[in-house]
């Protein structure tokens, strides 16, 4: 049979036979072609429970992730956790959405903090607080650091597992402070001082600009939360879907105008949407940087001067809130087998183990998420290096009992941040006055909130 087929096959390709092969035989060929094109399906007898995790950790963070996953797999012989770097946060979320809709979603996915409301509304998620009960376990949620869990909680229940949490702080270059005749151990604590120091540093001629920053939209949220000021109504979208933003009032305009004024004086230099400003700070071309605490390890490694860290500057005479938690958290996909959920839960518990949380913190600069890990680090003297302590104290130092100090949770948050960034860029370019720019952004954001409420029937 095979030989016959072979002759036919070779015959087909020779010109003479091609003309003569009868119609019946061609179907044999068709069949063969179809057979060959079916990908070989191999069935693996799997004893291990295989779970997948999509994340957005690249560079040096990826190495730490891989090390933790490797040790997890080694200590859990019945589980095979497969991590996969799926691009930036935004790309990871987009891929997750596509995969969920086609039924090929991973078990676990890392989502940035602005995607929180999207995930809560997705109907694709198994909230982590439900998992222990489902598996017949009891779990003490109080072991996690409270400002972090607050951010990811709905009505006191934790929806996603805190993983890489960071906040914003002020970095400063002590050498430049000295050169400008300032006390290197007295960083500015208020925006008034920022301006005064700025003028003095500019006058000294050591640098052309004094400070810059990353993540404008996020820093804006930080500034509001830091002064216990709401971003949007309905308790920052935590009591129900937010209908409109509330930051464009007297306080908001004052903050925004300060940013633009400092820019016009040459003190502030706009540093782009993410981490672009870090290079200017590392190169010693600016004296201060307002940036995510997760940049600390990188900045310490790359800077050839003495780095100081401090809390974000305040506006005097306004209420005290807290600096907000940013970064990402881990979400568990709904609709997977109990076996897989159990394996995922094992991994989530593993991440909370003291030595793993410490490994994660030291390797990346993200906060240790459990109280036990925090205590161990304190005992070990890790925080005797003041630069590391600042970051952590900051989120613990303020009040935690208000929605304003917890941060906003909004559906179209990503797009809203973009509108803020555009407003800042327009205002410092002088295209619009600060007030016009902020009001325009608020108006656009309100439209987004309205659209979101329309979709989700809020």
């Amino acid at each position: 049979m095979l030989k016959k087929l072979k002759t036919k096959l070779t015959g087909f390709f020779s010109l003479k036979n091609r003309i003569n092969l009868c119609p019946k035989h061609k179907w044999v060929l068709v069949g063969l072609a179809v057979l060959l094109s079916i990908p070989t399906v191999s069935v693996i007898a799997a004893e291990k429970v295989e779970i997948t995790w999509w994340h957005a950790m690249s560079g040096s963070r990826l190495k730490v992730v891989d090390a933790i996953v490797e040790s997890f797999n080694a200590t859990h012989p019945d589980i095979e956790l497969k991590p996969l770097f799926t691009g930036t946060y935004a790309e990871t979320l987009t891929k997750f959405i596509a995969s969920y809709r086609t039924g090929t979603a991973p078990n676990l996915i890392q989502v940035y903090e602005v995607g929180t409301q999207t995930m809560i509304d997705s109907e694709a998620i198994l909230p982590v607080y439900q998992i222990p009960g489902m598996l017949g376990e009891a779990w003490d949620w109080a072991q996690y650091v409270i400002p972090i869990t607050n951010y990811y909680s709905v009505e006191g229940n934790l929806w996603s597992m805190p993983f890489n949490s960071s906040s914003a702080m002020l970095y400063y270059n002590k050498d430049i402070f000295r050169a400008a005749g300032l006390d290197p151990n007295k960083p500015p604590t208020t925006w008034k001082e920022m301006e005064e120091y700025g003028e003095q540093i500019l006058a000294s001629g050591v640098v052309d600009h004094v400070y810059s920053g990353g993540w404008p939209g996020w820093i804006w949220e930080q500034t509001l939360g830091y002064h216990n000021h709401l971003y949007a109504d309905n308790d920052n979208g935590r009591a129900g879907l937010a209908k409109k933003v509330v930051f464009n009032d007297e306080f908001g305009h004052m903050v925004f105008e300060t940013m633009v004024r400092l820019h016009d004086k040459g003190i502030y230099i706009y540093g782009g949407p993410e981490y672009a400003a870090n290079s200017a700070f590392k190169a010693g071309r600016i004296a201060m940087l307002i940036q995510s605490t997760s940049s600390l390890t990188g900045i310490l490694k790359a800077s050839e001067f003495e780095v100081g860290t401090s809390f974000l500057p305040r506006f005097e005479g306004y209420p005290i809130g807290n600096s907000l938690v940013g970064g990402g958290s881990l979400w568990v996909t709904k609709g997977k087998s109990e076996e897989e959920v159990r394996a995922v839960w094992e991994f989530l518990k593993y991440l909370g183990q003291t030595e793993i949380a410490i490994q994660w913190h030291k390797g990346t600069g993200y906060f240790p998420v459990t109280n036990a890990a925090l205590k161990a680090l304190l005992d070990e003297g890790w925080f005797s290096n003041q630069t590391y302590l600042t970051a952590f104290l900051e989120i613990l130092s303020g009040r935690r009992d208000t929605a304003a100090a917890t941060g906003a949770r909004l559906g179209p948050f990503v797009a809203m941040r973009e509108h803020f960034r555009a407003a800042l860029e327009k205002a410092i370019a002088g295209d619009l006055s600060p007030k016009e720019a902020l009001d325009e952004a608020a108006q656009k954001m309100n439209q987004l909130l309205k659209d979101y409420a329309e979709l989700y029937g809020g």
Partner: protein, 318 residues
């Protein structure tokens, strides 16, 4: 009949059979085989181009949640919102400005360089490679290079500008016009190599005899260029016009994503970048579908005009 092609003028290539009868004879007994053989290509086109296209046209009449849990029919609202939005109008203008800059500057500079390269000088190979290699760079790398050259606080260009002008701060992150120009420069530079290769090949195909005849007749280099070289190049130029248009509309995405992300303000937010942001970052699929249809429409019109008008005018004399 023997399947022998009819004799036909050689410049038209092999004659196509006319009518069903001829086809039967070319593949006797294999009536469906040709269809089977093209089926994979057709399947790829249908699955990856036609179906998504139809889906996105359909999607442009709906708004839906990112996870597709809820979909609401809104008629033409996505389109109405789009065209009444100042951001979108701004994006259209930006795209037009951006693509005309990239096409006009890119093609004229490349033509100039190709003309210079099309002569016998020492080290010609080196110059050719040095001018062409930029095309081999990925958009991401090119973006990083240009972004770091123009970085406001650390870049070389703002430093030089500040020294020369006595303190002028060149910050493309806050000045939309400068940002647009920097992105145009980067995009043009990136495409330069590609344009030069084609124009150089075109130039080398211009018969020397024509140029010599022109010289004998007393035409100067300028006149010879406009009267002989330029018309002879028109097939290449037509092709490059269309390729550069596609490039300016779509492929510069990577550069913009790396360099400006559409900012500052919305100064460099060209249509395809706005589509990406609305669809994939802001998860607003309805609006993004409407935008994709608009871009499709614009590009189709551009393609039709270019193929109709430009091809007719192009001189194919070889």
């Amino acid at each position: 009949m023997g399947g022998k092609p009819e004799a036909c003028p050689p410049h038209l290539g092999p004659c196509r059979p006319k009518g069903e009868a001829m086809q039967e004879e070319r593949f006797p007994g294999y009536r469906w085989l040709p269809y089977l053989l093209v089926a994979p290509s057709i399947a790829v086109i249908v699955i990856f181009l036609v179906v998504p296209f139809v889906q996105s046209v359909r999607g442009s009449f709906f708004i839906s949640t990112p996870f597709g849990t809820k979909t609401i029919y809104v008629g033409l609202r996505n389109y109405i919102r789009l065209f009444s939005s100042p951001d979108y109008q701004n994006s259209i203008l930006t795209t037009l400005a951006f693509s005309s800059f990239v096409i006009i500057i890119g093609l004229s500079v490349s033509l100039g360089i190709a003309q210079l390269l099309n002569q016998k000088i020492r080290g010609l190979g080196f110059y050719q490679v040095a001018l062409i290699w930029t095309y081999a760079l990925s958009p991401a790398i090119a973006g990083v290079i240009w972004a770091s050259m123009f970085a406001p606080a650390t870049g070389l260009v703002p430093y030089i500008v500040s020294k020369l002008s006595g303190g002028y701060v060149l910050n493309w992150m806050t000045n939309g016009r400068i940002a647009l120009l920097v992105v145009v420069a980067a995009a043009t530079w990136k495409m330069l190599g590609y344009n030069i290769v084609f124009l150089l090949a075109g130039l080398q195909n211009v018969p020397k005899a024509l140029m010599e005849a022109a010289r004998v007749d007393g035409a100067g280099p300028w006149k010879a260029f406009w009267r002989i070289t330029f018309p002879m190049l028109s097939p290449t130029t037509t092709f490059l016009l269309f390729v550069n248009m596609l490039y300016a509309f779509f492929q510069v995405f990577g550069l913009i994503d790396i360099m400006t992300r559409g900012g500052p303000g919305n100064a460099t937010e060209i249509l395809v970048y706005k589509l990406y942001r609305d669809g994939f970052i802001h998860l607003n699929t309805g609006s993004a579908s409407a935008q994709s249809f608009v871009i499709f429409f614009v590009i189709s019109i551009g393609a039709i005009i270019q193929l109709r008008v430009a091809t007719r005018k192009a001189i194919y004399a070889r």
